[in-house]
């Protein structure tokens, strides 16, 4: 055997190992959601079992799950849309305009992510209480925006900077307005960055647990909070939790697959020599 084939096999095995490690928890979650309580608690764990849909029946019988999923969807979509709406023009400005305080503004965006979220949980709770926003979608959207905007701004600024400036100048010469240049050049050509930041933003908002736990009770409770809420009391219904987890993961996967189609490289190919 040549050293090249050995190398390839090692490479392949390495990739398999990494993939297996990454996917095993997901597999365990899905498979567990089809187990009954006896199989779930079996030691050593069982690999073959008779699948049951009982967990899903229980989960959907509980209005918390459906409500939580709907709330998560509302909050994550609203956050993502708003983050893109405000973040992409900001990124365009940071990428292409010179203005006073640009470097400071840039740094400020970074500092937003320096503080551990839990440090702010109590102040945010008190603020939300004062503003009578507890247990609303709005408070979650606002707080998630503070996390997602910097991500959108960073990723998109970097992406917009990679667009040749002559394209904008050519468009200006042709009479395009600033808005049109942003809308018809920067957004389509920066689509990969916009897509990546949209995915990040959506996933973050969808999965966020800490603030959702602190700021919601019932009306605006999101899916992750609903999943953990089953843990109350003496018994831990693993099957139900795993089933809820599986239900939660699905929309994110679908969203990512749809958006990732825009994540192609080389969109600006052919623009310049």
């Amino acid at each position: 055997m040549t050293s090249r084939t050995t190398g390839r096999i090692a490479h392949f095995l390495g990739l398999v190992l990494v993939t297996a490690c990454a996917l095993f928890p997901v597999y365990w979650m899905f498979s567990s959601s089809f187990k009954n309580q006896v199989d779930l608690l079996a030691a050593p764990p069982v690999w073959t079992f008779t699948p049951t849909l009982q967990n899903y029946v229980d989960v959907f019988a509980d209005p918390k799950t459906l409500n939580g999923t709907i709330n998560s969807f509302i909050v994550a979509s609203a956050t993502t849309v708003l983050a893109l709406l405000f973040g992409t023009p900001a990124a365009y400005a940071l990428a292409r305009f010179e203005f006073r305080g640009k470097a400071d503004l840039w740094f400020w965006f970074i500092t937003n992510r320096m503080i551990s979220p839990i440090v702010l949980a109590l102040p945010v709770y008190l603020l939300a209480q004062q503003a009578r926003l507890l247990d609303t979608h709005i408070v979650l959207v606002l707080i998630y925006l503070t996390f997602n905007l910097p991500i959108v701004v960073w990723i998109c600024t970097d992406q917009f900077r990679s667009i040749p400036p002559e394209l904008e100048q050519a468009a200006r010469l042709e009479g395009a307005s600033q808005f049109r240049i942003f809308w018809q050049l920067y957004l389509p050509l920066g689509a990969p960055g916009v897509a990546v930041s949209a995915i990040f933003s959506f996933i973050f908002s969808w999965n966020e647990l800490l603030y959702a736990l602190v700021l919601t009770r019932r009306a605006a409770q999101t899916a992750p909070v609903a999943a953990t809420s089953y843990m109350s009391g003496y018994e831990v219904p693993w099957g139900k939790i795993m089933a809820t987890g599986s239900v939660i993961v699905l929309p994110v996967i679908v969203f990512s697959i749809i958006v990732s189609r825009h994540m192609v490289r080389g969109l600006t190919m052919g623009a310049t020599k």
């Binding site: 002559e166 394209l167 100048q169 310049t272």
Partner: protein, 361 residues
């Protein structure tokens, strides 16, 4: 009043001066070529005319109006960028139509204008392709197409041919000349390539380090360069410069010595006041004005070094006394062998003389 007038244009990036007091006029329909070494400010000047760059000082007039503070789109100027700058996500058709759409032209008229431009540039079969599916020459035509549909008052080309291969370059050069003739619009063309400059230009503007060195028709610049820089820049192969000493001068003539003159001092006609005896000046001789057949009243003794055969002509490199190398352009091929002694002859009235400050005498 001239169609395009640049008045005392100054441009600085921070403290770095890029253009220092550039003034220039161009007539309607004229083809003006900017030449100069890399970084001398050609693109910057073009972008100032287009309005993409603000001037630090000075004014730009187009068609009688002061447009110094007018936004680019209102100047009715089209530019073909050094890098083409096609919109990569739009089809060729939409690239060409972009400016017309912005101006709110009705659809049927846009289609007509695009079709007309495509016909002129012979890119009709490419209209539905994306820029990445085109060759360099095709992209360049699309960029020109985008510029001509708007029927601008002024065309700006920034080294549009610099990335094309030699053959395509020659072909596009002719097409641009043809386009200029058929549209009759003022064009300003930036290039590094002095063949392009000589063949396309009505007038050439030679720039160096942000200043205009000389403006003139190609033949004027070739025949009467104002200084050594222009003399060295215009004409290919490059002019030979020899360091010579003045031994005598009279009204309209100057006598010079150089170790390579086989018969002692040589007298050269001169139009400006002659320098004093003892001064050192530069003698410029174009390679094509030197010959190996003894034609001319003066000559240089040289030793054959190497020859470049270009097919019909050859460039002969030879060493002369004093250690300088001269280049002689001759028809056919030299029959000399390395180390052989040659006599490079010329007519003193064809020679160029420059004073110590490199200004023409």
């Amino acid at each position: 009043m001239a169609f395009l007038r640049l008045q005392n244009i100054v441009k600085r990036y921070g403290d770095l001066p890029v253009l220092r007091d550039v003034s220039l006029e161009a007539e309607k329909g004229e083809f003006v070529v900017f030449v100069g070494p890399s970084g001398c400010g050609k693109s910057t000047l073009l972008r100032i005319i287009a309005g993409l760059e603000e001037t630090t000082d000075g004014q730009v007039f187009i068609d009688g109006a002061d447009v110094t503070d007018v936004e680019p789109a209102r100047r009715e100027v089209s530019m073909v960028f050094q890098s083409y700058a096609l919109f990569p996500h739009m089809s060729v058709r939409n690239n060409i139509a972009f400016g017309l759409k912005m101006s709110g032209m009705p659809k049927p008229q846009i289609e007509e204008a695009v079709a007309e431009a495509a016909r002129i540039l012979q890119i009709e079969p490419l209209l539905d392709r994306k820029p990445r599916q085109l060759s360099g020459g095709q992209r360049q035509r699309v960029a020109i197409g985008r510029a001509i549909v708007r029927q601008p008052k002024l065309f700006l080309f920034d080294e549009p041919l610099s990335n094309l291969d030699a053959e395509l370059r020659a072909q596009m050069r002719i097409e641009i000349a043809r386009l200029h003739r058929s549209l009759g619009v003022t064009m300003i063309f930036v290039t590094h390539d002095q063949v392009e400059a000589m063949t396309l230009a009505d007038r050439i503007v030679v720039l160096r380090a942000g200043r205009i060195e000389q403006v003139g028709t190609p033949s004027e610049l070739y025949a009467r360069p104002a200084n050594m820089f222009v003399a060295g820049f215009i004409g290919s192969p490059r002019m030979n410069f020899l360091d010579v000493e003045v031994v005598g001068s009279s009204q309209g003539a100057v006598t010079l010595v150089h170790p390579a003159f086989p018969d002692g001092p040589v007298s050269f006609p001169i139009s400006r006041p002659a320098p004093m005896a003892g001064e050192r000046v530069s003698l410029g001789l174009r390679p094509e004005q030197l010959n190996l057949e003894g034609r001319g009243r003066a000559s240089l003794a040289a030793t054959f070094d190497i020859a470049e055969n270009l097919g019909g002509t050859s460039h002969v490199y030879a060493q002369i006394a004093g250690g300088e190398t001269i280049n002689i352009a001759i028809p056919g091929q030299p029959r000399a062998t390395p180390g052989e002694r040659l006599l490079a002859s010329f007519d003193p009235q064809d020679a160029y003389l420059f004073d110590r400050d490199a200004q023409a005498l």
